[in-house]
């Protein structure tokens, strides 16, 4: 009985294999139109690797907007493809290698977890440009770019500090990585710049994307007196929860004003377009250099958009002043003295934090309640 079953299986395997082989033969005959020599210059082939679905209305969506915009701007000089929902494990390396094998001359990978896959593939393909968002490893043909998100969080904080009645802000956080910790701290510092009494409560949901959990976390913060919420997660759930409870919130990643007409105080909107235009332009003009790009409000990669019409004039002025200050460099988010929430001075008076300092943040500033999970 068992032996015959095995035989059946083996037979099945052979038949299946033969069918596949037969298919393979048929398909192989005309190899994909191999780069036929044309008189016109070949368009630049660019590929994007996304961690989420392009329809996530958050992170991957914002990168895809940048891709589409670059496509529109450069016309027939570039062609693009993308692969969405690529897991940040061993799959990434295969996907990236395959994109290179397809003749792409530049690969943009838009999540931190793709870093080591990018490093490995970049090493094997010196003639291809690699661009990695939010990472820190670079090579001759691999460079990194990221947005200074915390500037947006700071501007939101300025508004929050003015608008809070309970002097308690809430933050729905994803994972304790430096970027998120910077945002929590910047949100608090922004609020304290206009209202020193402000404190911030933080809830971690251990996910970038879980709308029901985001709602629950927001509810929990509001139940404990937080009346202006910011989130570092991808959906509109937190803002909508604020709307339902008659509290305030912000949009994150993109303009979310339509989701909560009464609660929406403004949105921290990303604009990758500026970077992708720069990058394509540099490759087309053959002046691409490995470098580290960190852009914020000044460069237009990030902005505080759609401030609510009902904001008091004074609040509007305060946030506009801070925004202008960030643009001209007269305002720095992390400027001493900065004291952490155990009372230790982490940045001396009048010192302005550099990127190394900001990269190493693993504490909450004074006013944030609790302890950073990754330091416990």
């Amino acid at each position: 009985m068992t032996r015959s079953f095995v035989r059946k299986l083996a037979l099945g395997a052979v038949v299946l294999g033969a069918t596949l082989a037969a298919c393979a033969k048929k398909e192989e005959a005309p190899p994909a139109p191999a780069a036929a020599p044309t008189a016109k210059a070949e368009p630049l082939k660019a590929a994007f690797v996304y961690v989420g679905p392009v329809g996530d209305s958050g992170w991957s969506f914002s990168h895809d907007l940048g891709r589409k915009n670059a496509l529109a701007k450069f016309g027939d000089k570039v062609t693009t493809t993308f692969v969405e929902k690529v897991p940040e494990g061993p799959d990434a390396e295969r996907v990236i290698r395959d994109l290179v094998a397809q003749g792409n001359k530049v690969v943009f990978a838009t999540s931190f977890g793709f870093m080591d896959a990018m490093v490995k593939v970049a090493k094997d393909h010196p003639d291809v440009y690699f661009e990695h968002a939010t990472g820190y490893k670079t090579a001759d043909n691999l460079r990194v770019y990221e947005a200074r998100f915390y500037e947006g969080a700071y501007l939101a904080g300025v508004v929050a500090g003015k608008m809070t009645k309970t002097n308690t802000l809430g933050f729905v956080a994803s994972f304790p990585i430096p970027e998120v910790l910077r945002n929590i701290n910047a949100y608090t510092l922004g609020a304290q710049s206009v209202n020193p009494k402000v404190k911030t409560r933080v809830v971690w949901i251990n996910s970038w994307f879980d709308p029901p959990k985001e709602t629950e976390a927001a509810q929990s913060l509001m139940n404990q007196g937080a009346d202006v919420l910011l989130q570092n997660t991808d959906s509109t759930a937190v803002l909508q929860a604020a709307e339902r409870n008659g509290k305030f919130g912000f949009g994150w990643d993109s303009d979310m004003s339509a989701f909560a007409p009464k609660a929406h105080l403004g949105s921290v909107a990303l604009n990758w377009t500026v970077y992708y235009e720069k990058s394509f332009g540099e490759i087309l003009e053959k002046r691409w250099k490995p470098e580290v790009t960190k852009w914020g409000v000044k460069e237009g990669m990030l902005d505080f958009v759609k401030p609510a019409a009902f904001l008091p004039e004074e609040t509007k002025k305060a946030v506009e002043a801070a925004r202008e200050g960030l643009k001209t460099g007269t305002v720095a988010v992390f400027k001493g003295p900065v004291v952490d929430n155990t009372g230790k001075e982490v940045l001396a008076k009048d010192a302005v934090a550099d990127d190394t300092w900001k990269g190493a943040i693993n504490f909450y500033v004074k006013g944030v309640e609790g302890k950073v999970p990754s330091s416990m």
Binding site: R201, W204, S207, F209, E216, N223, F259, K371
Partner: protein
């Protein structure tokens, strides 16, 4: 004091979709069918519910569409496992996979859309009571419907002839068949009804709880609902308890985090899962009790001719 009331209120809301979906799966399982496709059914009904509410402008239309979508997916699943006798575990998982792809595919146009303004709800008079009002009586009507559904399911299973037949089918399909009951039809009916309930839960998530549609938004709640049926030892009232326990521990851990408790958030997030296991162990210690409740034919195919 008011914080406790709000915690209770949040718990009831968080437990409601789990309770409704769990109840649907319980009906399946009482008839002997294990549906691991819950996650996929919830997703498809979430997008269907959102789309209906978006175009029709009514929450209740959303629930109806969710129920219909859930029932339709369940019917496909039921046809495969009941008529074609495919393996229930694998078929359910395939439905989950299919559902997550399919919902993302059809839902792409609804990403970033918003439903109309959300109304606040309160039961007249009772909603004004101190403490009890904010804790219990200012919920969406579906929260009370869930409780009513659980009562109705209890009544159906233990007090009606049809419920007795359903349990008999789950217990011993051969005997039920010998007595002249159409085992397959009854199983299919249970699967479709259960699917409809899962559909209501999915629509509740996308229309009321987090009024938005994004791919993958159910984020594992189908699995939790499945776990609840086991946890409840297949008794409807305990589904409600389990759902509130899970929702409550989830809210409590978020609440404690916001209080600044000094424990890594990962350990806090483990609490609902650990609590579920611990309570299961406590209630499972009497083996006889479990065996009396677990549908004996759960997960096993039935061949009427054999």
């Amino acid at each position: 004091m008011s914080e406790v009331a709000l915690l209770v209120a949040a718990t009831l809301a968080a437990g409601t979709p789990l309770a409704i979906a769990g109840l649907g799966l319980l009906l399946n399982e009482r008839a002997g069918i294990l549906n691991l496709g819950a996650e996929g059914m919830l997703l498809i009904s979430a997008v269907a519910g959102f789309a209906a509410a978006f175009h029709g402008g009514s929450e209740w239309l959303g629930f109806a569409a969710g129920a219909a979508a859930g029932a339709a997916v369940a019917a496909v699943f039921g046809w495969l496992v009941v008529w074609l006798n495919t393996n229930q575990y694998a078929t359910g998982l395939a439905v989950s996979l299919f559902g997550s792809g399919f919902s993302a595919f059809v839902g792409i146009d609804y990403v970033g859309r918003q439903l109309g303004e959300q109304r606040a709800h309160a039961v007249p008079i009772l909603g004004e009571l101190p403490f009890l009002g904010p804790a219990l009586f200012r919920q969406h009507p579906m929260v009370y419907v869930a409780v009513a559904l659980v009562g109705a399911a209890s009544f159906f299973l233990y007090r009606t002839r049809a419920g007795l037949v359903l349990r008999a089918v789950g217990e011993s399909p051969q005997s039920a068949h010998a007595l002249g009951y159409g085992v397959r039809r009854i199983r299919l009916a249970a699967v479709v009804t259960g699917g409809a309930l899962c559909g209501v839960a999915g629509a509740f998530l996308s229309v009321v709880y987090t009024p938005l549609w994004v791919e993958g938004m159910v984020a594992g709640r189908g699995w939790i609902a499945l776990a609840l049926t086991v946890f409840a030892t297949w008794r409807p009232a305990r589904i409600l308890l389990g759902a509130y326990l899970f929702g409550g521990v989830t809210m409590l851990q978020l609440h404690l985090q916001a209080q600044g408790v000094e424990l890594p958030s990962q350990f806090m997030a483990m609490l609902p899962y650990v609590a579920t296991v611990v309570v299961l162990v406590l209630i499972s210690r009497n083996p006889l009790w479990i065996r009396l409740n677990m549908p004996a034919s759960l997960g096993k195919p039935f061949f009427p001719g054999a």
